[in-house]
Assembly symmetry: C2
């Protein structure tokens, strides 16, 4: 079997030039994505259609030859599979009915895996269609991040509704996070059973918590998730991505047990290098350098390769690619990475 | 003269229980503020009315006896004094006409200090009315944070418009930041001339930049500002507050030359303690613990006093108090801090 470089790096080996993929690489910046999306109906229809989800997952691999492919889906299919309502408003984002403490106690997971069957099916189709050397990543949202949408009913800049809910209803939030941790572990395990080589946990809203809340609402649930996942798949790498965690990045890998550490673009290299000493890191180009192109892009790529290229690195953006990114800039980024000399 | 404890801490002495004040302590959570605000007309009318600005600045001192008072004003009076339009929409925030690269080159500072004369007058009135032992803080926005409003015309969650502007127009952004740094230094110096004992630089949007951008757009302009300010007031403490700077907090004090370091609520105590080794820190209660009250508040206060109480600490929130905070919770926080035993 051809070697999968992303897996190799996640297991701790340095590869140069580093393998590369992009968060949200199957997305609106691609004309072929917009075309498939228009055929599918709603965004959720696309997520639950195995053939079309497979098609959009493959599009960036065909066009750019990335080293990893990530399942096309959304972190909020997990609460949706618990019977919570969910809709995506065009250009606005997800909307849910805020969950109450009483509703948390009454959550019913009996239909969870059957609801998610089309996702598992998509993973199988993708693995069969991918080049042998391309790593396939499954993913889920971290319990805290998923909970913020369930409680606020939407994304908010600083997750104030959920922080306040947690301060006022600590037991209810603990219960919700535990439920999400266990089900997300099983969901990731199901993705691996279907063909995923590694998985990523997106904790997009972890950067808004104080230390005690971070430990209780981010770290503990992710540690629980990883532990339960490893009971079924001990050797599958797990990438944790606590976006915006700042100084709390320092102990995150040790505390949660994740294999690889996704770095957002604000992490400075002195500290990133320190984080890399305990295992693979992934990141961390500011997505707006990719939008800007030119010198801003070249400087950004050079800084990452110079700062982190000697150790185990998966080159990536520091957050998802934005819809206004020119595809030529993506090509230029890949050229810059793959032509780099030590 | 009665000793001003906040100044003492900023100069590096540990005081226990620590002195206390709150960012945005003169604000909408106070009924007496809302009353004065209604009399004043617009928010900006209040900022430019020395008697009423003095009155709202004093209200939280009268009610709670804080150890420091901070001038009631807004960081955006600086661009306003450069002739940029500015309005505050109720419940929405500031709105400005986005500035272009050409307009940056043509900025005219000839009316700057006369525009700000009512602010200097307010500072003088406040100092005369304050108890002898109360420290009076002046303030300004950091160049980067002020620039984000000037370029985007509003606050945005991740300052994408200004980051992209900077990647595409690096020289224009450098020029704007240099202008703001110099004028802000003179503005702070003018506040000290009028009676301020110390000053704070609010860099509320510094947490969205990658390392190179952070150094160029946050650190370098603040260092320039502090250097110029010190040419006029070498011994006046300067508090830097790079909110959300995360791992970039580590070198901020050394790089910028600020005296005290404002910590947002996400900074963990192990690292905060490390930052405290080089001088005073200020913070860092999650403002939502104050909204929640009860155990969430008591736990938060206890964690800060336990984590940072042995060194030079100014007790504060990790960001501004929110309008929905019950005044009883503020009283309770002060009681918890002032009754604390080592």
């Amino acid at each position: 079997m051809a070697e999968r470089n992303v897996l190799k790096v996640l297991k701790g080996d340095a590869v140069f030039p580093p393998p590369i993929w992009m968060m949200r690489q199957a997305g609106r910046y691609l004309p072929e994505y917009r075309e498939t999306r228009a055929k599918a109906g709603s965004f959720l229809d696309l997520c639950y259609n195995p053939e079309l989800a497979c098609e959009v997952t493959l599009q960036p691999i065909r066009r750019f030859g990335f080293d990893a492919s990530i399942l096309f889906s959304d972190i909020l299919v997990v609460p949706h599979a618990l019977g919570r309502d969910l809709r995506f408003e065009e250009g606005v984002g997800p909307r849910m009915t805020p969950i109450s403490a009483e509703e948390i106690a009454a959550l019913d997971d009996s239909g969870f895996h059957s609801h998610l069957a089309p996702v598992y099916e998509a993973v199988g189709l993708i693995r069969k269609s991918l080049p042998e050397e391309t790593t396939l990543l499954g993913f889920c949202g971290a319990p805290w991040t998923v909970a913020t949408y369930m409680i606020a009913g939407r994304g908010t800049p600083d997750q104030a509704p959920t922080r306040l809910f947690g301060y006022q209803n600590p037991d209810a939030l603990d219960a919700l996070l535990a439920t999400l941790a266990d089900l997300s572990a099983d969901y990731l395990a199901g993705q691996v059973d279907a063909g995923a080589d590694a998985v990523q946990i997106f904790d997009s809203w972890s950067g808004v918590l104080d230390e005690a809340a971070f430990e209780r609402w981010c770290v503990a649930p992710v540690a629980r998730l990883v532990k339960r996942f490893r009971e079924r798949h001990a050797d599958i790498p797990v990438i944790g991505f606590p976006r915006g965690a700042g100084l709390a990045y320092e102990n995150y890998r040790q505390q949660t047990g994740v294999t690889g550490l996704g770095l957002d673009w604000t992490v400075p290299f002195e500290q990133a290098k320190r984080l890399q000493a305990s295992g693979a890191v992934q990141g961390n180009l500011d997505p707006l350098r990719l939008v800007a192109g030119g010198e801003a892009l070249a400087d950004g790529v050079k800084a990452i390769l110079g700062g982190l290229g000697d150790g185990p690195l998966v080159f990536n953006l520091g957050h998802g690619i934005t819809p206004d990114t020119p595809t030529e800039h993506v090509e230029e980024m890949i050229r810059l990475v793959r032509s780099a000399q030590r």
